[in-house]
């Protein structure tokens, strides 16, 4: 590989990591639902989209971008509480697929509400940061991307600290073991479970906000492709594993960028989903998860 080729390659590694940090946010949102509630929450891609589109809509309405981002985050978290109100709360005792169906219906609901309000076109945000690129040798690293990466690592560290150290974390881990036993032990699950949705909704929406700020393009169905990559990232990292989610996100981001580079764009999906299938069959706890017994479904 000549010098120019190597520079382009390392630039792609950087881009892959940035994309991966957004996948990681979605993966954390998903993995929290599975880890604590054994609930595959398909409304997460919708919450991601709400984060992205609200940022765009509020910036367009003249709000400063930090305010728009914060408001979008809150709307996403609030929408997630709405999902809780109509899914897990009612269906804890139902067939395990039923909450999944309702969360899919929420995805359809959110996407089509966005279409009704804003139309289905691709919308672009104005350039928000004049020139915030840092150059290290031949590498170009944009400041917002780097901030996004650090922010996601920081938030995930904070989340794992909350889970390990606080009273809330202990309650969540009890629910993860067995919701009925948690109830018997005096854990107020109907107060605690909305917290899970609040946190995972905020992570999903933050992923959308970061996507909108970095790639400056949003549309009502933006969550679908990202959601699928987030699912892959979660599986690679081991379902229910918070740190696995960020490792999986970065890994999928890199794998995607490298396979575009080496195999051509046509083979990206085959390699990403092939990897996903292989991991599910061979090592269902994920590459970064502890090897051990298959987790209960």
């Amino acid at each position: 590989m000549n010098r120019g080729g190597r520079a382009i390659f390392s630039q792609q590694i950087v881009n892959g990591l940035m994309l991966g940090s957004i996948y990681a946010m979605v993966a954390v949102a998903l993995t929290l639902g599975i880890g604590v509630l054994r609930f595959l929450n398909f409304s997460i891609p919708g919450l991601f989209m709400i984060g992205g589109m609200m940022t765009w809509a509020l910036v367009r309405a003249g709000l400063a971008w930090p305010l728009a981002a914060a408001a979008a985050l809150m709307v996403g978290a609030a929408a997630s509480l709405l999902v809780e109100l109509f899914t897990w709360r009612w269906m804890r005792k139902a067939d395990e697929f039923v909450p999944l169906v309702s969360s899919m219906a929420f995805l359809i609901l959110f996407e089509n509400l966005a279409v009704v309000h804003w139309g289905s076109e691709l919308q672009s945000l104005p350039r928000l940061f004049a020139s915030a690129d840092w150059r290290i040798g031949n590498l170009v690293i944009s400041a917002p991307q780097l901030v996004g990466l650090l922010l996601s690592i920081g938030l995930i560290a904070a989340l794992s600290l909350v889970l390990a150290r606080t009273r809330l974390g202990r309650a969540l881990r009890t629910i993860a073991e067995d919701a009925d036993t948690a109830l018997l032990l005096g854990v107020d699950i109907h107060r605690i479970v909305p917290m899970v949705f609040l946190i995972s909704g905020a992570f999903a929406a933050l992923g959308g906000v970061l996507f909108a700020l970095n790639y400056r393009e949003v549309h009502p169905f933006m969550g679908e492709a990202l959601g699928l990559k987030g699912i892959s990232a979660m599986v690679v990292g081991g379902m229910g594993n918070i740190w696995g989610a960020i490792a999986g996100g970065l890994f999928i981001g890199l794998a995607e960028v490298v396979s575009i580079d080496r195999l051509g764009a046509d083979f990206v999906d085959i390699s990403v989903y092939g990897l996903l299938l292989l991991i599910l069959i061979m090592r269902p706890t994920g590459i970064f998860g502890a090897a051990g017994t298959r987790a209960r479904s």
């Binding site: 219906a105 359809i108 009704v116 085959i270 996903l276 599910l280």
Partner: protein, 279 residues
């Protein structure tokens, strides 16, 4: 019959076939999110046969379904090692792999899509749908249906009762894939054109929605679910853009009020026996 009504009825019949394709594994406790992948295999194989081997549409569609079932049998052994959410995600990955492979297959048009020369009208499609309904109802009136229900309710007890749990799961998975393949073949030969993008995860999700909405406890659940899901958006057409919003809201509310789906097993037994029975 006006073109509009025929169009809706065709869609209804195809959706019914798809719904039974997802219902069979679900009745055995497996969520197959890769239904669209098997539908794609059936659609493309049958289209290839009728285009290149001068085969009439109906046998080509049956062979397409067979091809999907064979692929399902081949992948069932590794894929059905997983369970629950893992199985749902594994089948989802499988569907996406099938789609990505078709996108890269130049012999069937790749990303440009694949035109289908042969054309079938509503009567043929309706005949297929009725045959599928009758076949599945008959199947569930046999020991197979009871065994599948037992596997769904409690695998361990079914195993203790001497059922070969794995064999029933593989059978339900492959039979379902075969039906999905037939649905794909019907779609290909009515709309004269197929493309890989149609057989996406959204299609799998909609098909799974039909079944869960109708209910997985009775053979008539998928029929009711597919009918409601095909006809309801048409009835709501008055408020063009809002119809999907309303539609999703209805699904959410129904799932809260009736998590077992519209048609439940106890209901059907009561209806058929004419008297109360313990559920």
């Amino acid at each position: 019959m006006s073109g509009y009504v025929e169009g809706i009825l065709v869609l209804l019949a195809i959706n019914v076939v798809f719904a039974y394709g997802a219902f069979l594994p679900m009745a055995a406790g497996q969520l197959n999110l890769g239904v669209a992948g098997f539908a794609a295999i059936g659609g493309y194989v049958s289209a290839y046969l009728s285009n290149n081997a001068a085969m009439p549409a109906s046998p080509a569609i049956v062979l397409g379904g067979l091809a999907a079932a064979v692929v399902a049998l081949a992948v069932a052994v590794p894929v059905l090692r997983t369970r629950g959410i893992y199985l749902a995600l594994a089948t989802f990955a499988l569907g996406e792999i099938v789609r990505a492979c078709i996108l890269n297959m130049e012999a069937v048009g790749g990303a440009a899509g694949y035109p289908v020369a042969a054309f079938i009208r509503f009567p043929v499609i309706a005949a297929f749908a009725v045959a599928v309904i009758v076949l599945v109802s008959l199947l569930f009136a046999t020991r197979f249906g009871i065994a599948i229900t037992a596997v769904h309710d409690d695998e361990r007890v079914a195993d203790l009762m001497g059922l070969n749990v794995r064999a029933f799961q593989v059978a339900a998975f492959a039979l379902g894939a075969g039906l999905a393949g037939i649905g794909g073949g019907l779609y290909a030969h009515h709309f004269s054109y197929i493309e890989a993008q149609y057989f996406s995860i959204s299609l799998s999700i909609s098909i799974v929605l039909y079944v869960l909405f109708g209910g997985t406890q009775s053979v008539f659940g998928p029929l009711v679910g597919a009918a409601v899901f095909t006809l309801l958006p048409e009835l709501l057409r008055g408020s063009a853009q809002w119809r999907y919003v309303l539609f999703a809201a209805i699904v959410i509310v129904v799932m809260v009020l009736r998590p077992q789906g519209l048609v439940s097993g106890a209901q059907m037994r009561r209806l058929l026996a004419g008297k109360e029975q313990p559920a």
